[in-house]
Symmetry: C2
Subunit: 289 residues, 2 copies
């Protein structure tokens, strides 16, 4: 089964378990709406790729970790789009969840997705409880306080913020959790895998800032120019487009150097290099080619 099929299958299975016929039907619909159809599924792909590189992608915890990371990413998108944050109307080419189902179901769907992520890990951990603990702790660390994506979003509520610290928490933390959880699910010490995820997360954030400046709304599936409109920190604003592209390429190179020794190191590097190329907005990828 290819990575994409594995991820969609794992997400479908876990969503089905959250939707019983005697549960509230609109919540079940909203959960589905938040997760399908997905974006590029960059983070769970990373989890699967790292687990494979570590030589241990046979555990059910691998697919569960990938699904959990994506569910938590979807939850953060739903909550970040709320009127009190970004007030985003579009996401992944369709109305944002709160625009389609109302704010109340948007808050609840985000909450339910967070719970479901950990439930998914727990269910997969039944066969191998000892391996569950490092996977769970890794995933939780990437999401919660004080250093996960919730903390990253919370930096936007502080009177002042250091750009690198903000981006590390808001984006880098979940990427680091994605690589580390892949290693942990494969039965390998996750700690050395954090740097790879952090650097890829930084690269992805820079690419995201660039897309917000350069890409079309059609290409993104959401409005552009939001960072400037919301006065958010942005590498593209601070460094200019060319400076940001150079920074992105440096970050990808640095990320690949950070891959720890493992059986599938070469294949992982090749895979990540081709994925990183897809981070760039089409306009810049053509210029860079």
């Amino acid at each position: 089964m290819d990575a994409s099929t594995r991820i969609e299958t794992a997400l479908r299975a876990t969503l089905d378990q959250a939707s019983a016929t005697d549960g509230p039907p609109r919540l079940a619909e909203a959960l589905d709406y938040a997760v399908f159809p997905g974006g590029a599924r960059v983070r769970p792909r990373l989890t699967l790729a790292v687990a494979a590189a570590c030589g241990g992608d046979g555990s059910p915890l691998v697919d569960a970790a990938a699904a959990a990371i994506e569910l938590l990413h979807c939850a953060s998108l739903v909550h970040d789009d709320l009127p009190c944050f970004d007030d985003a109307t579009m996401r992944r080419g369709k109305p944002a969840l709160h625009a389609a189902y109302g704010q109340r179901l948007a808050v609840l769907a985000g909450d339910a997705l967070i719970v479901l992520a950990f439930e998914t890990l727990g269910r997969a951990g039944e066969a191998d409880p000892a391996r569950l603990v490092p996977v769970l702790m890794t995933v939780a660390g990437g999401v919660g306080a004080p250093h996960g994506i919730v903390a990253g979003q919370a930096w936007e509520c502080e009177p002042s913020v250091v750009l690198s610290q903000y981006q590390q928490a808001k984006t880098g933390a979940l990427f680091a959790a994605a690589t580390m959880a892949g290693a942990a699910a494969a039965g390998v010490d996750p700690a050395p895998w954090g740097a790879l995820g952090e650097r890829l997360g930084e690269a992805y954030q820079v690419a995201d800032d660039l897309r917000d400046v350069v890409a079309s709304a059609e290409e993104l599936g959401k409005p552009v120019g939001r960072d400037i409109a919301l006065d958010r920190p942005s590498a593209a604003r601070e460094l200019g487009v060319e400076g940001a592209v150079a920074r992105l390429q440096g970050l990808v190179d640095g990320a690949l150097e950070a891959i720890p020794p493992c059986p599938g190191r070469e294949e992982l590097a090749a895979l990540l290099r081709s994925q990183a190329a897809s981070f760039l907005p089409k306009e810049l990828a053509q210029q860079a080619a």
Copy 2:
């Protein structure tokens, strides 16, 4: 250490781990504000009491399960108080979290508390991973979709709802998780302990409906008359005050009959009977005496 001290100590320890000096300070403050000072801590007391009755309250998972249940309860209060739900201005005798810190930090604090609950379980599970799985699955089932408290709140977004189903999910589910998690953390099969929690949860919900009609705002620490103002289902509205009191007493009697065989059955029944008396608003407790 008495139950109250154990609960506050466990909550303090887990909150401290969510507050690093390099994390966003206002989020850390908001988390503290959401958890301390607490209410009656009814649910975590239940977890400790059941674990003790099962003869197994020595595992670190017992205190962790109690703390996780309370963190999830606090998270639900913070999100339920948001303007898009109850728009509550007061909670536990002080301004609701969103009134004190803004809606954005209220959404994020709720999210962080949910993550922290599972992180707390994971940390305690390191010493006994096999026991972690049933505790985690029990807690998650009481909170998420399709039958947990998030689903309960989501029933308020449906065009029609059956009162018993709504209350079972909104209140009963977390009470059932509290009793079952206590048993699971003590190394006992949690399933037979669900009925006790469900019935106590129903009793507590009826008492809550009564308090909303009978008690003073000062006694509750939040405004009264909200169920009628928000046109919410309420046993006190459906059955009248006397009918609701009779129903509450029947539920408590039924709950105590549902205690499964265990070493500390008598002590548990006595403890729960005295706690249940404190569910009633003072005005009615005096009438009933």
